[in-house]
Amino acid sequence: MSENKQNSAPKSYLEETGGRKGIFKWILSTDHKRIGLLYLYSIMAWFFIGVTLGVLMKLELIAPGKTIMGAQSYNATFTVHGVIMIFLVVIPGLPAVFGNFMLPIQIGAKDVAFPKLNLLSWYIYIAGSILVVSSLFAGGGPPDTGWTFYAPYSFKTGTNMLPAVLGAFVLGFSSILTGLNFIVTTHRLRAPGMSWMKLPVFPWAIYGTAWIQLLATPIVGITLLMVLGERIFNIGFFDPAKGGDPILFQHLFWIYSHPAVYIMILPAMGAISEIIPTFSKKTIFGYRFIVFSTLAIAFVGYFVWGHHMFTSGMSGTALFTFSILTFIVAIPSAIKVFNWVATMHQGSISTDVPFLWAASFIFVFLVGGLTGLVLGALATNVHLHDTAFVVGHFHFIVFGGTGFAFFGALHYWFPKIYGKMYDRSWAKTGWAIFFVGYIALYMPMFFLGVMGMPRRYFDYLPEYHGPNIISSLGALVMVTGFVIMVINLFRAVKTGEKAPQNPWGGTNLEWQISSPPTLENFDEIPTIDKATYKYD
């Protein structure tokens, strides 16, 4: 009887192979969940490489003078670390992995609006990745411009810029197509009754992000093409010797790359907004404020790019305008933080693994955000620009914000994705070691920056030695925590206990379907008749 029951039970998406075998059941599948996992595995592979390069940099900086690499190797290492981490890991990160997996489920759909386009986006991502990485091995050595490809150096350097720039250009198409897919999915495929104000916060965040992906990415695409034009045809867009303007490159680059920070952080905020109510057993505080602050960040985020260029020689009018706008964008970000804290207030909090990642996210995001205001003020920026302070701030926002939210989301949705449960005590150990290592790695950078240590140098003065030792050792501790986390999750996939349908007591649609979900997520499309995050 029970055997019959098992046979008639619908297969999960992991068992449903479409008659394909081996790798083909992955790379030919148009199921949004498998595509989400394809992104997860590809992104994690690049992340391992990026982390390795980061650790090598920290080992070089453990003592003044040359330790394990010279100036040129260090320049190439931070460039490739930046390019991999930004373009291959954090920009696609949460939208491509969890957006793909969770968006259709959370809005009550069977898949995204254009499943084949979705798979094509992954192929384009892989093609772009290969192009970027080929720059390490071909021609005149790895690029050494930093991930920002600043002109005029990017078209004058003899290193291998063409594949790196072309790769970033190709990756942009993947981002645009994914964004387009998510916008159409959110507009057209919401379940009956799921009005905009019943949409969970994560889909809202993915939706806001998708607009940035769609509208901002073409600008960096055309900018990178202009750099290629400079290198190949000597056109002179950015070359002062030919009447060009190098600051124009910085404008064009940051018109995309600052909103790109919100491509990284908005889905992270969305994931945190899912985790906190679930583990506080409380309706999210100020749902409408969170939603509108998401849209406000996505919108105002377009107009603050100039704060990356305060010392570039812009006009005083522009400096003043960008500084004011930067302070304005802090408001919706602060609204979110207050709402998360208010959600926890008088909640029935369980400090399970995803909550620990979410709570530590709030802390590191707060540090990153407040140090951002220090950099957004014109006077302090002049002192701190291009120092280790900027590296600290950037990593607190991008790695702290996006990374902590990514790992939090991974632990939160892991039981749903794989239908398996991980060992919670090892997961907590991994988190604790990671968090301590993280703080030790990046916090000293603020002090070093205030003391005046410039970024992007393989060497430094002896007075900067102490904080650099703490930072380098912190990197090793953090990597230890990361390795524990990965091994624990990997072991859970192989031998973990079966996860129940709703292990955390969540209220959204993903917790009302089986773990792992079936191929089409729902037996029949649900009708939504109550607001989201309702805890009795």
Partner: protein, 94 residues
């Protein structure tokens, strides 16, 4: 939903718009003969903007589509305009 109507535009309209696009293309070439200094780019963008509007409205059927789509495109154009204005705050006052 099944009763959505698709507007059919006449060949006459298409040919008229095509002619206008050609005229505006010639105009954007002719305009380079006038010395407009730093306003040359603005003039070129203005002509290109008019041409794009024709393409969007007639060839891409925005004129006959739901109002929602026109609002979306309008907001995106406004965004681009604001970005250009802010960039000009640097260029014009440097």
């Amino acid at each position: 939903m099944a009763e959505e109507k698709h507007h059919i535009t006449s060949y006459k309209t298409y040919l008229l718009v095509l002619s206008l696009l050609i005229v505006f293309t010639l105009l954007s070439v002719a305009i380079t003969q006038i010395e407009l200094s730093r306003w040359a780019a603005a003039a070129a963008l203005l002509v290109a903007g008019i041409k794009s509007t024709f393409v969007l409205m007639i060839f891409m059927h925005l004129k006959y589509d739901q109002r929602m789509f026109r609002v979306m495109v309008g907001l995106i154009v406004a965004l681009v305009v604001v970005v250009i204005i802010i960039t000009m705050l640097d260029f014009l006052f440097r």
